[in-house]
């Protein structure tokens, strides 16, 4: 029945309940545009209200034309957070629970002269009547738990007509449904995971980069607020600092392998750097970050390999995907094409040469060569890659922006 009113969260593209939503997710369903505050007497928005101000009698009739339950109209109230709070309880709550909870969530928007629960609502008696009217006809598992208790404190205490949930040891809220074991399990699991992540994030806040001596997560731009994990040791750096150091020109007298590729603190040689928004505390966590980074790169086609038409300097140890397209050079000859000579500048630029010049630049968009240092590289190629790197650092950073390693 209530399915017939269009869900306003769905209409905004943000209904968290999906198919479990009591309201219609069908665009053809009529929206409920009646201002319930106006119906009750006072709407703070007055003429600026975006909902229809119709008289109670008319409103009721129109409301019941779209929905048999007049309280459903409340759901479309403009700012009710009830929808969100109840998603925490997950699952569709029976009609019984809905109106009272919604009153509860409406509370902050009523002028706080008196606590809302002491106020005599017009519908209050009616609701209680309904609750008392059919108390034992529903199974306990179908009854929703009290949202006040779940949020921290139920002012009704013992007299509350709803079930008070059990205390969740992690979040400290009474939000565990005593009669829904799967829901309990789910909440406990997600709660624990969230807590862990929060702790890790808190811990990460304190970590300083040894190059810029600043807290990594307090850097000014989002692209900088990332750690660069070295594969072989556990010293923390900003991703930009460690990349700048590893990418700094070898001409300054610094040795590539013994200085630049080594950890600035312990001088252990690391072959690649992994970006991460969070710092790890255990070896397993680090492995997880590294694995998910590699898995992400593995899903991106290697621009050097170019589906079998190009020659990837990292060969089989490349982190990116090497797909051989039918008809490509590798597909026809079962070996990668001969290495392309480095583009040289002449006065006469053929069209193909022009592409050769731009190709590597484009290819490096999501390929940061210095992550993938490999012994196969000659020092000249290294220098070339590093030069390309310089022009591409910003791009590669922003590319990884959306990548989140837990």
């Amino acid at each position: 029945m209530s399915k017939r009113v269009l869900c306003k969260f769905f209409a905004h593209g943000a209904c968290l309940k999906g198919e479990h939503c009591e309201f219609s997710h069908d665009w053809k369903a009529p929206p409920n545009n009646i201002c319930t505050y106006y119906q009750k007497g006072v709407c703070a928005y007055g003429s600026r209200c975006r909902y229809e101000h119709v008289k109670a009698s008319k409103g009721n009739s129109s409301a019941s034309s779209s929905s048999t339950n007049p309280y459903q109209a409340l759901v479309s109230d403009p700012v009710s957070p009830g929808h969100d709070t109840r998603t925490a309880l997950s699952g569709a709550s029976p009609i019984q629970g809905t109106p009272l909870e919604l009153y509860a969530s409406c509370r902050p928007f009523i002028p706080p002269t008196k606590p809302a629960w002491n106020e005599e609502f017009v519908h209050h008696d009616l609701l209680d009547d309904r609750d008392i009217g059919e108390p034992s006809s529903i199974r306990p598992a179908d009854r929703s738990i009290c949202s006040f208790a779940a949020a921290g404190n139920c002012p009704r205490g013992e007299k509350c007509p709803h079930i008070h949930g059990d205390l969740c040891p992690t979040c400290g809220k009474h939000c565990l449904h005593p009669f829904r074991p799967e829901e309990r399990e789910e909440h406990l699991n997600t709660c624990e995971k969230k807590q862990k992540q929060l702790d890790a994030l808190k811990h990460s806040q304190e970590i300083e980069c040894s190059v810029c001596l600043e807290r990594v997560l307090s850097k000014p731009t989002a692209a900088e607020r990332k750690f660069g994990l070295l594969s072989e040791c556990d010293h923390p750096f900003c991703i930009s600092c460690i990349r700048n150091w590893r990418g700094s020109s070898p001409t300054s007298g610094l040795d590539v392998n013994s200085a630049l590729r080594a950890c600035p603190i312990c001088r252990k040689l690391s072959y690649f750097v992994v970006p991460s928004v969070i710092w790890y505390t255990t070896k397993e966590e680090k492995q997880e970050i590294v694995d998910s980074y590699k898995a992400k790169l593995k899903s991106i086609d290697c621009k050097h390999f170019d589906f079998g038409n190009g020659n990837c300097p990292f060969g089989t140890s490349c982190f990116y995907k090497h797909t051989v397209k039918p008809g490509s050079y590798t597909w026809r000859h079962h070996r990668p094409p001969p290495r392309r000579p480095p583009p040289h500048r002449t006065n006469f630029v053929a069209m193909d040469d022009l592409f050769d010049v731009f190709d590597p630049l484009e290819g490096l968009q999501d390929f940061s060569a210095e992550d993938l240092f490999d012994e196969e590289l000659t020092s000249f190629e290294m220098a070339l890659l590093l030069m390309d790197m310089g022009s591409d650092t910003c791009d590669s950073l922003s590319d990884e922006e959306d990548f989140y390693s837990p």
Partner: protein, 157 residues
Amino acid sequence: MQASRARLFKEYKEVQREKIADPDIQLVCDDSNIFKWTALIKGPSETPYEGGIFQLAFAVPEQYPLQPPQVRFLTKIFHPNVHFKTGEICLDILKNAWSPAWTLQSVCRAIIALMAHPEPDSPLNCDSGNLLRSGDIRGYQSMARMYTRLAAMPKKG
């Protein structure tokens, strides 16, 4: 440029905070230029430099900390790894073994360590290096002590 400035500012604050913690090193930043620093270091005890106060000049490059600062002794010192005339220091961490994790403070510490443990095999001051290499420890020590007294100690009276 911005990065080096920010980092030097951090180091400056750290130095202000740790002034008392390390009485052997006194790092001072130039009033008008954060890329110019001077340091006063105490000669380590049980060496011929004991009792002397040596002045160092730091010139920090704009690429700092990706490139090492240039450090030299302003006070004359007789040491196999310090050029007698220019004060240039031969120390691997100031050249090819530099790491951005070093700070000006830690460079000072490294120089104090170098004063206590000279490396006669890569000398900038050959006279001093030859004395040590030929095993004339006494000769080296008396020369070093003399120059310490001449150049690095406040004049008496």
